[in-house]
């Protein structure tokens, strides 16, 4: 890791208010991404990982969302949360681009695909006129869309889900970003297409020396491409470490539970275990360690005190067990 990472998020706290008051969907999350690195953030839906990603670019809808004071998001040391709107717009799509979960709804249905990409090209490059069109076609070509010149004139509804996600990626690449945030980029796609999109992202990262922040609920996806992995639960990062370490020796019971719930190609036929219960609502975060109601090995202390990240043998984990069993 570099001394000044490309992106550094520290103590990010995001509140959401509804009729019942304000709740912290993200509660003190810190992580960093180095240049050219792939960080995977994993967690069940509702754990706050998408909100964290959106917070980076200031895309959390306000209201109801609100990034609480004390949070910090730094791009090469530059604070983004207090940046001017104009500066933030330059960052968006220029230095940091984002690909979203739902390719079906993330493209504007009334604008042609090519035009939507061209918008990004024009916004972040000096290209104008036909050059923009050429650039759009080459981007589409690069993300593997056949017949790119034709497709650039297509409406979003005329493309399949995979094609749309490729178009979204092309759009994200338009500004030649240093960091690409991919928020569940494959969740809505067929399994066969998932793999290809993932491979595309990985290839692009290598080719452009771009960092990739991959947000997913699917450990399998992370395993394929991530250098490092952070596991989120109930608004907090509960474990973080290098990908191979984390998969080999998870320290947090939640990580372990997640790992047990995915099929392992090396041990076919094994019964999969699901973690009992579901992620609580931000309005009803449990006291102490937020995982304790679902944890099979919870201690008394877990009910009272909230652990922070501690050095575990292979990773860093927020679990009292780490302390108990050195």
């Amino acid at each position: 890791m570099n001394p000044t990472p490309l992106l550094e998020v520290s103590d990010l706290r995001v509140g959401f208010s509804n009729e019942e008051g304000e709740a912290l969907a993200v509660d003190g999350v810190s992580f960093s991404v180095g240049a050219g690195e792939t960080l995977g953030i994993v967690g069940e839906s509702g754990c706050g990982k998408s909100v964290s990603a959106l917070s980076i670019l200031g895309l959390v809808a306000d209201p109801p969302g609100r990034i609480l004071p004390g949070s910090s998001v730094r791009l090469r040391g530059e604070e983004l949360l207090t940046a001017s709107p104009a500066r933030l717009r330059d960052v968006r799509g220029g230095e940091i681009a984002m690909v979203f979960q739902e390719p079906m709804t993330s493209l504007n249905p009334v604008l042609r695909v090519g035009d939507q990409i061209a918008e990004a090209v024009r916004r972040h490059t000096d290209l104008r006129g036909d050059a923009v069109k050429e650039r759009v076609v080459s981007l589409l070509d690069r993300v593997g869309i056949p017949d790119p010149a034709d497709r650039s004139r297509a409406w979003p509804h005329q493309l399949s889900g995979g094609m749309r996600q490729r178009a979204m990626i092309a759009m994200a690449l338009a500004g030649d970003p240093e960091l690409l945030i991919a928020d569940e980029p494959t969740t809505a796609l067929d399994v066969t297409i998932q793999v290809r999109i993932l491979k595309l992202l990985d290839d692009l990262r290598r080719e452009r020396e771009m960092a990739l922040l991959l947000i997913t609920h699917d450990l399998g996806v992370v395993a394929q491409v991530a250098d490092r992995v952070a596991v989120m639960y109930a608004g907090r990062i509960v474990e973080e470490g290098r990908s191979e370490n984390l998969f080999a020796r998870p320290a947090h019971p939640y990580t372990a539970g997640l790992l047990r719930s995915i099929p392992d190609p090396d041990r076919p036929g094994e019964r999969l275990e699901a973690i009992p219960g579901s992620v609580p609502s931000p309005h009803d975060w449990p006291s102490g360690c937020r995982f304790h109601p679902r944890c099979t090995v919870a201690l008394d202390r877990c009910l009272r005190d909230s652990p922070s990240l501690m050095e575990a043998p292979a990773t860093r984990a927020a679990c009292w067990l780490v302390e108990e069993t050195p």
Binding site: N18, E19, P63, P64, G277, S278, P280, S281, D284
Partner: protein, 380 residues
């Protein structure tokens, strides 16, 4: 939208106090809506007690319009109130955080938190009181003439809204006019939504030729010059309040039927309806058990908003001299009588117009609140 139809497995008991004094639990929770609701009901009860003798007078046959207006308002308020509180009845029991709340409960909460809707409801409640107590509140008899000294008096302490060209007290006439206008609005909408729901449901459910024919009928009605129908009907039959109600009802159902048809079309394709079909249930049962309950919500909203429109339509009809017959006061015909004198006696047309705006606005506020509360998309 399918979420709303998830059967509500858990049921709590309604707060018994809330049944006796509606809104009391909300009041104790420190909410404006509770204070307003409870306040209006209590004042209604109090005035009713003190004036019980005169209220008995209201039951005289000549006051049927007032009774009708009152009944319709009470029914409407009760319906809205029940809709708003239904969820609360069901979920006042122990709350399991993991289960969450039923959509109806959330809708009720949203409605009660909807300040504008509560304001609208409070206005309507006030209107109910006014309608009930018109004979008590009205400072003068609305039909007593004062040709000698009372003609065209500007608003003053004695006549808050002034007097009309025959020396009748305008405030009293506007108050009595409320009964007529509200009765017409409510009943016309009742006809319109009944007809519209029936036609829309049949068209959407049956599909095919039935649908085509019914929807072409809707087009025909929409493209038909309403004025021809109105004038003719008024000409053929005795113009009366009942007739106006029927006419407005018969010319106002098309929007509802389109709405219902659309709803039915979308619900029809849902899995549980398909399942009901697969289980061999007949169309009647499917319509009744699965489709209509879904359609009800938008229809209630449409009805609330429709009452406002019906009041406006009655006013326009009376304005053209084809509506409520004199000397009975309706807001429309008071405005009509003031139209000629708009410059020298501005108050005649102005005040009933304001009454219309206020009333229609209340209905719209409540309608908006209901829609926002019942539509899960509007969770903010």
């Amino acid at each position: 939208m399918s979420k709303r139809t998830v059967p509500e497995s858990h049921s709590g008991q309604p707060d018994p106090l809330d049944i006796v004094f509606p809104g009391i639990s909300a009041l104790f929770a420190g909410r404006l809506s509770g204070a307003l609701t409870l306040g209006s009901w209590l004042s209604l009860l109090a005035v009713a007690w003190f004036r019980r003798r005169r209220i008995l007078d209201l039951l005289a046959v000549s006051q049927w319009d007032g009774i009708l207006a009152l009944l319709s308002l009470v029914v409407l308020l009760a319906a809205i109130w029940v809709a708003g509180n239904r969820g609360r009845f069901r979920s006042t029991g122990l709350r399991d955080p993991r289960v969450g709340r039923s959509p109806m409960a959330l809708a009720g909460r949203r409605f009660r938190r909807h300040h504008q809707a509560v304001l609208g409801l409070a206005l309507l409640a006030a209107l109910t009181v006014v309608t009930l107590l018109t004979p008590v509140l009205a400072p003068f008899d609305p039909d007593t003439l004062n040709l000698a000294t009372g003609r065209l008096l500007a608003p003053s302490a004695a006549h808050w809204m002034g007097t009309d060209e025959l020396g009748r007290d305008l405030l009293s006439r506007v108050l009595y006019g409320a009964r007529i206008s509200l009765t017409i609005g409510f009943l016309a909408v009742l006809i319109a939504i009944t007809l519209g729901t029936a036609i829309g449901a049949v068209a959407g459910y049956a599909g095919g030729w039935t649908d085509t024919i019914l929807m072409r009928t809707v087009d025909l009605f929409l493209s038909f010059p309403r004025i021809v129908l109105l004038i003719t009907v008024v000409a053929v039959f005795e113009p009366s309040i009942a007739l106006i109600v029927v006419v407005l009802g018969l010319t106002g159902w098309m929007g509802v039927s389109r709405l219902v048809r659309g709803q039915v079309l979308s619900v029809r394709e849902r899995e549980y309806v398909q399942a009901a079909h697969a289980l061999g249930y007949g169309p009647g049962r499917v319509l009744r058990r699965h489709i209509l309950p879904n359609v009800l919500t938008p229809v209630i909203v449409a009805a609330t908003l429709g009452i406002g429109n019906a009041i406006l339509a009655e006013a326009a009809l009376s304005y053209l001299g084809l509506g409520v017959q004199p000397p009975t006061a309706s807001w429309g015909n008071i405005i009509q009588s003031g139209g000629d004198r708009i410059i020298d006696a501005w108050w005649i047309a102005t005040f009933p117009g304001l009454a219309i705006v206020l009333t229609v606005m209340s209905f719209n506020l409540v309608g908006d609140g209901l829609r926002d509360a019942l539509d899960p998309r509007h969770v903010e």
